[in-house]
């Protein structure tokens, strides 16, 4: 159905090709997962399927991409609309209309589908994706999961045989991600649609994949295989696979269900060990850095926060969790003074952040926003660093030295856009950290990060907290919460629904529990690293 033949893609002004001599074929009716570290060219590969690369990106594509017998060299994306549906990383950026029904009908209008057929297909898709309750709503009022499903529905109405999705669940909370993935598996199983999907959160999708395309990104060739083959050697793997490797299970489990069936002996062995010694211990917490007292906020008629009372202390890493639209970002914006409260107060180091000038705020609170790239708008890394020193009135070179501690090997002449997602986050983080705010806020920092980059971020955050900062991360990523958070605050509909030690909060939640906890329940272990330490202490396995 999808055939890449010796495809090499070079962007204009790039030193080397992004993809070199890629050949693979996805048969009809398969769900194929594209895996690779950030910046390895996954998005490029996906956008080449319907010819958006190179037609909208510039650059040169050598070789050929054949979809359903048609070459993208001959047909522009618009003429492939009834063959391939492409859903981009940010569904909202691709919306052409303002209302759900109009958006679903848009592709059919372009194809000239007869009005009666159009009405029927819109109804079908509304049912298939469970969108009928929101059919008349403005797109801007939808939650992330709903938007993603509308975006999928909007390309499906054209009746494509192939669906291409770029990180469809990376911005979604666990429940919404399940919603989207359930819809996708239904499409593959019931309608026989071929799906090509890129995703960093392997733990969410790997169990549904028939095949995996591995894009290493470091010059090694792109390979394809079944999940078990690929994860036998790949460095990129979800926690459940790593646990399987650690315990020496064969075949490697891909889902929590598979792993639990194999985990009986491991659980028994671990049950004999005194586990509390091997859990990551919460760091020492110190003085109160930030306080919110009865904080209320709203966007127009919509209430975003309803009376939030929270304290953040020096030395702790707090995870803010909750559905999309639960008020996490709003709370962070208030803590850094981007918004003013309707009622109630926010105090950081005794001051109200929204009353301070930008120059003073950065000294008490720093926020790395969801899309960290928006903080960067100079041509080179060096220019970003020196501008940051100037803005915050720091000694020249301060930002660069912070950057060197976080991500050591960034070239000063590199353009921020050419950095990998992880490096860009590191740069944004160092700009925020340069003025040494005692309160550090990060909004969805792991979006788009591969496992390696996430691991480095976890280490950096742990170190920053140990230095006596209060670190608050708003995230959907339960694995990161398990690895770094001391305390977990769950928001729902603008209210705090639980606030306690991260271990207690995540382990008792069916939605937020990390994979390792699900596999080993009722044992209270959260990460592969903890299991590794416990086993090593038991003297069972030879670990370094």
């Amino acid at each position: 159905m999808i055939r890449f033949e010796h495809v090499t893609i070079t962007y204009p002004e790039a030193e080397s090709p992004t993809l070199v001599d890629v050949s693979f074929e996805v048969p009809e009716g398969e769900l194929c997962l594209v895996v690779g570290v950030t910046g390895s060219g996954k998005s490029t590969l996906l956008r080449a399927v319907n010819g958006l690369v190179p037609r909208f990106s510039g650059g040169v594509l050598a070789g050929s991409v054949i979809i359903d017998g048609k070459s993208t060299a001959d047909l522009p994306p618009r003429d492939l609309a009834d063959v391939v549906g492409v859903v981009g990383q940010d569904p909202a950026a691709g919306f052409v209309t303002d209302y759900v029904e109009d958006e679903l009908a848009y592709a059919m209008e372009n194809l000239g589908v007869a009005p009666e057929v159009m009405r029927r297909r819109v109804e079908d898709i509304l049912d298939l994706l469970g969108l009928h309750e929101i059919r008349h709503r403005p797109l801007a009022s939808l939650s992330g999961g709903q938007q993603q499903r509308v975006a999928i529905g909007a390309v499906l109405t054209a009746g494509p045989r192939v669906l291409v999705l770029d990180e469809p669940t990376s911005a979604l909370d666990p429940a919404a991600a399940e919603e989207v993935l359930a819809a996708l598996t239904r499409l593959v199983h019931d309608l026989g649609i071929t799906v090509l999907i890129a995703e960093h959160r392997l733990e969410r999708v790997v169990q549904y994949a028939d095949r995996i395309v591995m894009v290493p990104g470091d010059g090694r060739p792109v390979t394809m295989g079944t999940p078990a083959e690929v994860f036998g050697q790949s460095s990129v793997a979800p926690p459940v696979v790593e646990l399987g490797r650690l315990a020496g299970w064969s075949p490697l489990p891909l889902s929590v269900r598979d792993a639990r069936r194999l985990a009986g002996p491991l659980r028994e062995r671990l049950a004999e060990v005194e586990l509390s010694a091997f859990r990551r211990t919460p760091s020492m917490v110190g003085e109160v850095i930030a306080v919110t007292d009865g904080l209320q906020a709203s966007y127009g008629p919509v209430t975003a926060l309803r009376g939030i009372n929270l304290q953040f202390r020096a030395g702790e890493v707090v995870a803010l969790m909750g559905r999309n639209g639960a008020g996490k970002s709003t709370l962070l914006n208030h803590l850094v003074g981007l918004r003013e409260a309707d009622s109630g107060t926010v105090r950081v180091m005794g001051a109200e952040p929204h009353r301070l000038s930008a120059h003073d705020v950065v000294r008490i609170a720093g926020l790395v926003p969801q899309d960290s790239g928006v903080l960067l708008y100079h041509d080179t890394v060096a220019a970003e660093c020196s501008a940051s020193d100037r803005d915050a009135g720091l000694v020249a070179g301060t930002t660069r030295s912070v950057l060197d501690q976080i991500v050591p090997d960034i070239k000063a002449t590199a353009h921020p856009r050419d950095l990998s997602e992880g490096q860009r986050l590191g740069l944004a983080l160092s700009i925020v950290l340069a003025s040494e705010p005692p309160l550090l806020l990060l909004d969805e920092p792991t979006r788009g990060l591969d496992y390696g980059a996430k691991q480095r971020l976890v280490e950096v955050l742990g170190r920053l907290a140990a230095e006596g900062r209060a670190v608050v991360i708003a995230t959907h990523d339960v694995e990161v919460v398990a690895a770094v958070a001391d305390r977990c605050v769950v928001l729902a509909e603008g209210e705090v629904v639980s606030d306690g030690s991260a271990r207690d909060v995540v382990i008792h939640s069916p939605v937020f529990a990390p994979q390792v906890a699900k596999v080993l329940a009722p044992l209270s272990l959260l990460t592969v690293r903890e299991v590794e330490l416990a086993l090593a202490a038991a003297g069972d396995l030879p670990f370094s």
Binding site: P77, A81, G88, A93, D98, N110
Partner: protein, 366 residues
């Protein structure tokens, strides 16, 4: 009271273009302020829930910047109009090849007023454009465009969505500046964020165009390559002719040939391109926007306002009050009546569906 629905985008644009054309026919500050007031009034009473509807204020701010820039240019380089000297700035003698350009010199009240009127006129046109964007989203306008314009594809998308996208981008850049600890006031802040805003808006507009393209926007259908080339050529020629024609209509001083004849040639070329593409770019509509009584009232309100300005221009020269000698602008009654007619949409256009009404109708249905 009719049920909440969205008015046909064409009606809002005709109304807004009518008012913009009024603005271009006058430099009378009273009338210009009245036009801004009318647009503001209608926007407040009939805007929708979608994000674009808050863009009117941004257009007003942009208008203020335009006025300020116009005044600064007048002070620095403007033609010296004799009259009451307010203050003087040092004059620079330019070489003979730059004759006609002056730098510095005495600044008179008359010259400042003339510049103010012209700046205000541009600001009013911007307000009309902002009103159209707030009242009906650029997306809806894109979808309502005649089929022939689809050939211009990406260019049209970018043209229609660039300004609203820039407003979204500028909010983001402003927040980012604050997070980096930069002041968000003053000319330096404004000029330093201009580039990222433009870049961001262009990126968004291109991402949108890519999304539209991959969902079949501007499909060739069954047309052959030569048919397609012919039709694209005709569309381009037609658009140029229409641009010249509209300019001629809006600028009372333009030669007659640039008015109706140019418009007619343009429309003919666009119709011709339809035939050239073999009608293969036919699209269908899911729920076509009706064109019924409210649409007629709104579009006619704009056109009547324009007609009243044309009439007022014939009767007296109050549309262009003299700034040398400076006099208090007279207010032509005909034009004011025309502008009153232009407020009719705030009563006769249907109220747009809001999140609240959508939710209640859902509750009722359930």
């Amino acid at each position: 009271m009719t049920a909440p629905r969205l008015l046909h985008p064409g009606a809002w644009w005709l109304w807004a273009v009518g008012l913009a054309a009024c603005a271009l026919r006058t430099t009378n500050p009273v009338l210009l302020c009245l036009i801004i007031a009318v647009t503001g009034w209608v926007v407040v009473s009939r805007r929708t829930d979608v994000p674009w509807s808050r863009s009117f204020a941004s257009f007003l701010r942009l208008g203020l910047i335009v006025i300020a820039v116009r005044l600064v240019f007048q002070i620095l380089f403007g033609v010296r109009i004799p009259g009451t000297t307010l203050f003087s700035i040092p004059e620079v003698t330019l070489p003979s090849w730059a004759a006609g350009v002056s730098l510095g010199g005495p600044v008179t009240l008359e010259s400042l007023m003339a510049a103010l009127y012209q700046g205000l006129r541009l600001a009013t046109v911007l307000a009309c454009f902002g009103a159209a964007t707030s009242l009906c989203s650029p997306y809806r306008m894109l979808r309502a465009l005649p089929t022939v314009l689809y050939e211009a594809g990406v260019a049209v998308t970018v043209a229609f969505t660039f300004a609203p996208q820039a407003i979204v981008a500028s909010r983001q850049v402003r927040e980012a500046r604050r997070l980096r600890g930069r002041s968000d006031r003053g000319f330096r802040a404004w000029s330093a964020s201009a580039l990222p805003v433009l870049e961001g808006a262009l990126d968004r507009a291109v991402a949108l165009a890519a999304s539209m393209d991959s969902r079949g926007y501007g499909r060739r259908g069954g047309a052959s390559v030569s048919q397609r080339r012919r039709s694209v050529g005709l569309v381009l020629a037609g658009l140029v002719a229409i641009a010249i024609g509209s300019y001629g209509l809006l600028d009372p001083g333009a030669p007659t040939m640039f008015r109706i004849p140019a418009l007619a040639v343009g429309v003919a070329a666009l119709v011709g391109s339809l035939a050239a593409s073999g009608r293969s770019t036919e699209r269908t509509r899911y729920r076509p926007d009706p064109w019924v009584k409210p649409e007629w009232i709104v579009s006619l309100a704009g056109l009547i306002a324009l007609a009243s300005f044309v009439l007022a221009g014939r009767i007296s020269d109050a549309l262009t009050p003299s700034t040398n000698p400076l006099e208090v602008p007279a207010v032509p009654l005909v034009a004011v009546v025309g502008l009153l007619v232009a407020t009719l949409p705030s009563w006769f256009a249907p109220t747009p569906p809001t999140l609240a009404t959508v939710s209640t109708s859902m509750a009722v249905a359930a």
